[in-house]
């Protein structure tokens, strides 16, 4: 580790820290319906869509709206891919995408996972990228944030049967949060050289022709496309699906160290801000800071460990395999940790080429359930499930029926919180077991030994937790993986959303319990430490055997 590297990490974290609070408070204002400067536009949207935005919804209605909205989103992305050959804005004349790959990709973008079994510039027309994937980047991010707000209302409302209006929540999220930030970021990225055009691909002669096995390569194809607009939202909305196959390692997506810094910032900005939003909305800012502190306590040591592990390789520059020379080890480790922590899933280096322990960090962060920052919205509702379990156990330890934010935590909330934690874990374990036990599963493994196992484990961890990054090295564009990973993304997303909304409904219906000196404070160091231990112990205990057979075995073999 170098001083320069540590300084870059420090600067990054400082900038995040400076921006998160004002943005978080702004977002809270949006959800408390105090920002509606574009209200005429808003009303127009509601009129066109025919929704009654002022009607309050019960959790059932809210959940139905989420499902209907997601199914419709899925249908659009799915059909656009199948029929892109007949549609405009396709200068390369790409044919329709295969049935199973279309299914996988549509599910992937609707669930905010952005797992990519395809290579963008070799598969998707500009229309599919723009109207399908880019639009869904906004919608799936907004869905996650809406569900978070619904859960927060569960805590703040008293004896209420309703938890808000889904249409209003997503419209506010997109109009006042995601769109303005995306426009700003896209313009900044274009200034750095990220492309934004509808040009056909161009062939240019190589500066340095390549000769390999008697055949020589003299030409190179330069792709085009509306990249900047899509890159901005894929970073901001914890989507992570790259315009190009190599994601943000591609020079057209992420050309300079400054663009890298901005994209890195965009990965973590909203998830970190939402901690403040939460604190502000529940009327106790300490509660938000508690969640942020718990996240940082896990994030910073793992980041340092990843950076340290990547520096342990040959030479003073550290392990440069699979990394871009313009970013170097520290920015790659920082990105890998951030993208895994936030369920973003974009990459600026290849995780497959990390050292075993360096690669363990993103894998572990994903397996902890995407609650260390986590996806936009989903990170907060995920960590709240852990907070509820923590409150329950600590409540018992002090001899009192537990309360969180003034709501009694009883059997129903425990059932839902347990489901939220259990479902992604189960999908990862069962999916990996199926893959390693079947021929179609093992057929895609290119690397021998423990590393091959890590690749499969990573694929299921990434999809079930809606991260979307890939370890790489595993051939996943097969009917088997497209289907099973698609199903894994669906369960990982909606298997969590439904119990969260049920819990929101149950909490909203409860009365408020006033704080007394017998109430366990859910802020402060003790609670933060207990919460982080709970996250680490649940995740750690679940995946310890699998991690032992993957990265840990690989690491121990490599040091022999």
């Amino acid at each position: 580790m170098t001083v320069n590297g540590l300084l870059q990490i420090a600067i990054f974290l400082t900038v995040v820290g400076l921006l998160a609070k004002p943005l978080g408070n702004y977002i809270a204002l949006v959800y408390d319906a105090k920002i509606s400067g574009l209200s005429r536009l808003e009303r127009l949207i509601y009129r066109i869509c025919g929704v009654h935005a002022e009607e309050e919804m019960s959790w059932r209605t809210y959940a139905s709206a989420v499902i209907v909205f997601s199914v419709a989103g899925f249908a659009v992305v799915f059909l656009l891919q199948l029929f892109q050959g007949f549609l405009p804005l396709n200068p390369q004349g790409f044919k329709g995408v295969s049935f199973d790959s279309s299914f996988n990709t549509a599910v992937s973008f609707v669930t905010n996972t952005n797992w990519q079994g395809y290579g963008g510039e070799a598969t998707m027309s500009y229309l599919t990228q723009m109207m399908g994937l880019c639009v869904q980047n906004f919608l799936s991010a907004a869905t996650g944030m809406a569900i978070m707000v619904a859960l927060i209302r569960g805590f703040t409302r008293r004896n209420s049967k309703t938890i808000g209006n889904f249409w209003l929540d997503i419209t506010h999220t997109i109009l006042y949060i995601l769109l303005p930030l995306s426009i700003l970021l896209a313009i900044a990225l274009v200034s750095q050289g990220v492309i934004q055009n509808f040009n056909a691909y161009r062939s240019v002669p190589l500066m340095q022709p390549l000769t390999y096995n008697d055949s020589s390569i003299t030409q190179q194809v330069l792709p085009g496309g509306p990249a900047a607009s899509q890159v901005a939202i894929k970073q901001l909305g914890t989507n992570g699906g790259g315009f190009f196959n190599t994601n943000s390692a591609h020079p057209y997506e992420n050309p300079t160290p400054l663009s890298n810094f901005l994209e890195l910032l965009a990965i973590i900005l909203i998830p970190a801000s939402l901690c403040y939003t939460f604190g502000s909305m529940v009327g106790d800012k300490r509660q938000g800071r508690t969640l942020l502190a718990a996240m940082l306590i896990i994030f910073i040591p793992l980041l340092m460990f990843c950076y340290y592990s990547e520096m342990q390789d040959i030479g003073s520059a550290g392990n440069m395999e699979g990394k871009e020379a313009r970013f170097g080890v520290v920015n790659s480790a920082l990105w890998a940790t951030a993208t895994a922590a936030t369920s973003n899933g974009s990459v600026d280096s290849m995780h497959d080429s990390f050292t075993p322990l360096g690669g363990l960090v993103p894998l572990l962060l994903i397996q902890l359930g995407e609650v260390v920052f986590g996806g936009v919205g989903s990170g907060i509702y995920g960590i709240l499930a852990f907070a509820i379990v923590t409150v329950f156990v600590s409540g018992l330890m002090i001899g009192r029926t537990p309360e969180y934010l003034g709501k009694k935590i009883e059997a129903f909330e425990m059932q839902m919180a347990t489901l939220v934690i259990l479902i992604p874990c189960s999908v990862v374990l069962v999916g990996t077991a199926i893959a390693v036990a079947t021929d179609s599963g093992t057929a895609g493994v290119a690397n021998p030994g423990a590393h091959g196992f890590s690749e499969i484990l990573y694929a299921f961890s990434s999809t079930a937790n809606n991260n979307g990054s890939a370890f790489g090295g595993l051939s996943v564009n097969t009917p088997f993986y497209n289907t099973i990973l698609g199903v894994s993304m669906l369960i990982g997303r909606f298997g969590v959303i439904i119990p969260i909304l049920m819990m929101a409904g149950a909490l909203a219906d409860k009365k408020h319990v006033p704080v007394s000196s017998g109430t366990l404070p859910t802020h402060g160091l003790l609670f933060i430490l207990f919460l982080t231990s709970m996250i680490i112990i649940v995740g750690g205990l679940t995946f310890f055997p699998a991690l032992t057979l993957g990265p840990i075995a690989e690491h121990l073999k490599s040091i022999k």
């Binding site: 018992l396 001899g399 009192r400 036990a437 493994v445 006033p514 003790l526």
Partner: protein
């Protein structure tokens, strides 16, 4: 049934518990507890494997499978043993109670009159509304209400208190309990409970735990434990395909066997808390019974731990029943000793508690000894409603009188004296401060005033401070006026008070607190308390109270001690805490078990993993066996803790959590490392 402080671990109880540990292996019984059911399935599976291994090699030595199999069954048996031990004491008490409930011949009357015709009928045939005559020496056949007569009744069968109590018609002492005995006189009672629903029946079923339902927190905890069990089930079962794949790609070693996977599974799932959970619940109820409180449901016990507001009656709970003298205030120019002396003399023959307290105060503060009133030649003039004064007349004609200010004023004026202004002011100020003023006069001279006031019980203020730290608010209920109530409330250190309390005001107060999200506990005995008792979340009825009060409450205090409420809250909290701490302990144990079993299980596939064997356990088989043995033995080791409950200290929530996390969280992390290493060493010593 009480006060015989029973030893938890007596041989007869243990003997029964051992037998039951085996009968409870019935899977239909085990399925109620998902964690232990998984253990039973695992044990059965390894037994089947063991039998199978006699014929076909299963990749594991038979002796190893046998040992794992045995210890898995032991895990189950130990958990059953804990539950049976917890039930044992209750069952023994139920036996005692049953013996006092034997069927007797009741004297049934045709009408409510004592003189009506008597028919003899078995007590088990009595129905609600029947009239029964009980005479001296008779056992009361069933629960009832006295409608005629007055008698002394020995209720020791229920309360354990051998001093007889008076039962009479009307008022708050009219309820009688079946199974108690009339020692003098006679009663006509109307039966208020059908056979099988009497207080004694309810007590027996509560004590036996027959009606024990899972409490809300227990259900929530069960959800968490089932969730953990499911996660660990998946984490261990998937090890089989994972290790098959790993063995193939690393081209060495053998996949993990079913025996080892089962052993790992049983070690990881929260068997410690799962096995002790029902024992903890039963023991909590049992501790209530030890405190001589009969809780009508486990839910009530648990709610007691959550109480936010305690409504306490002033008289008897916060103060002694009577007012006591606390100060002598002499009139201008009078010596305080003269006043004290006169006050004492006038009270020597006064047997009321107030009178006694004046004598005591004079003795304690001014060293004036008690004298024999006849020896000093004086005659006692008792209190009369007419004069509203009492006092003494000396043979030499001197007269000392003490009484209410206006009565003494009248008395001195009649003698030609005047009532001094200073004393008038003192009297007003005593009244303002919530006390009762008495004035003492000798002839036409007013000597001074005595302050009588409610004296708060010793230590009660500290108790309330403790409760406040626990987050519990205390509210004093009294029929006194606002002034007096405020003064006593300040003395006792309660958080709030309700003066001039009527049953309606009490009910309204409870509803107010509940609407604010608080849980309210109260005690009561009178029929007029019944509505409030029914409304309160935790309602403790005094056993001396009326039938209506007992029916409205969800607990009955056999000692009829109003301060018991505080003890009840502590038992409720202790119950929750024991569950919480053992859950934490159980989960924290898993880390060490992983480090014992995983390197051993995967050693043949990746020999490099021996680095993870940080305890340096001797062989892979011993490592796995040690973890399984530790897992079984820790249940036995924690039985006393589960039955006695963890110690409760009234501290703030955060300090309590910190302490318990350090002891049971950190302790749970470290203990198994030591325990497993120790067992491994012992196995190595004895088997090699």
């Amino acid at each position: 049934m009480r006060k015989t402080k029973q030893n938890l671990f007596r041989w007869p109880l243990i003997r029964i518990a051992i037998i039951e540990s085996f009968t409870k292996l019935n899977p239909r019984y085990q399925i109620r507890n998902p964690v232990m059911f998984v253990v039973e399935v695992g044990s059965t599976l390894t037994t089947a494997l063991l039998v199978y291994s006699f014929f076909v090699p299963i990749g594991e030595s038979t002796s190893f499978t046998l040992q794992v199999c045995l210890w898995l069954w032991f895990t189950l048996i130990f958990a059953n043993f804990a539950e049976s031990m917890a039930e044992g004491r209750g069952k023994a008490q139920a036996e005692t109670l049953r013996s006092s409930r034997k069927d007797i011949q009741a004297k049934k009357l045709t009408t409510s009159s004592r003189d009506s015709k008597i028919t003899y009928i078995a007590s088990s045939k009595l129905k609600v509304g029947d009239y029964v005559l009980v005479e001296a020496g008779d056992t009361i056949p069933s629960d009832g209400e006295v409608i005629e007569g007055i008698a002394s009744v020995n209720e020791s069968a229920v309360t354990g208190e051998s001093a007889p109590v008076i039962r009479e018609s009307g008022g708050d002492r009219s309820a009688v309990t079946g199974g108690t005995m009339v020692i003098s006189d006679w009663l006509v009672i109307v039966i208020t409970a059908n056979p099988g629903e009497t207080f004694m029946d309810k007590m027996i079923s509560m004590v036996e735990g027959a009606k024990r339902q899972k409490t809300p927190n227990e259900i929530a905890l069960n959800t968490l434990l089932s969730g953990l069990t499911l996660v660990f089930l998946l984490a261990t079962v998937t090890i089989v395909p994972f290790s098959i794949f790993s063995a193939k790609v690393s081209a060495q070693g053998t996949p993990v066997t079913i025996t080892i996977v089962t052993a790992l599974l049983v070690c990881l799932i929260p068997t410690t808390i799962g096995g002790l959970l029902s024992a903890i619940g039963i023991a909590g109820m049992d501790r209530m019974i030890q405190a001589n409180v009969i809780a009508m449901s486990g839910k009530a016990v648990e709610a007691a731990g959550d109480v936010d507001v305690l409504l306490l009656d002033k008289t008897g709970t916060i103060t002694f029943g009577n007012r006591q003298a606390t100060e002598f205030i002499p009139a201008l120019g009078m010596d305080v000793k003269t006043l004290a002396d006169a006050a004492q003399i006038s009270s020597l023959a006064d047997e009321t508690p107030e009178g006694r307290s004046i004598v005591v105060l004079a003795k304690e503060t001014y060293g004036i000894r008690e004298r024999d009133i006849r020896a000093i030649g004086a005659k006692f003039v008792p209190f009369s409603a007419n004069t509203r004064m009492s006092g003494v007349d000396f043979q030499d004609g001197r007269q000392i009188r003490k009484g209410a200010a206006d009565a003494v004023d009248e008395y001195v004026q009649k003698q030609g004296g005047t009532f001094p202004n200073g004393i008038k002011k003192a009297v007003e100020s005593i009244a303002r401060e919530g006390g009762t003023p008495l004035v003492v006069a000798e002839g036409k001279r007013v000597l001074g005033a005595i302050r009588l006031k409610d004296v708060v019980k010793g230590g009660i203020k500290e108790r309330f401070a403790q409760l406040r730290r626990m987050g519990i608010k205390t509210v004093m209920i009294t029929g006194d006026n606002q002034l007096t109530a405020a003064a006593v409330a300040a003395d006792a250190g309660v958080d709030d008070f309700l003066a001039q309390a009527t049953p309606e005001a009490k009910l309204k107060l409870i509803r107010q607190y509940q609407a604010g999200g608080k849980l309210v506990a109260m005690t009561g005995d009178g029929t007029n308390d019944a509505p409030a008792l029914a409304q309160a979340d935790v309602a403790v009825a005094m056993n001396t109270g009326t039938q209506a009060a007992k029916e409205a409450g969800n607990m009955v205090d056999l000692d009829s001690n109003p301060t018991k409420l505080i003890e009840i809250v502590e038992i409720g909290k202790q119950l929750l805490m024991t569950r919480g701490t053992l859950t934490t302990f159980s989960v924290a144990n898993d880390i060490a078990k992983y480090f014992a079993i995983l390197p051993a299980a995967f050693l043949s596939i990746y020999p490099e993993l021996s680095v993870l064997n940080i305890m340096h356990l001797s062989t892979p088989q011993n490592a796995i066996l040690s973890a399984v043995i530790f897992n079984a033995l820790i249940i036995i080791a924690l039985i006393p803790l589960a039955l006695k409950g963890i110690k409760y200290r009234p501290l703030g929530a955060d300090i309590l959590l910190r302490n318990n996390l350090l002891i049971y969280g950190l302790g749970g992390l470290i203990t198994p490392f030591i325990g497993i290493k120790l067992i491994d060493t012992l196995i190595g010593e004895f088997l090699l």
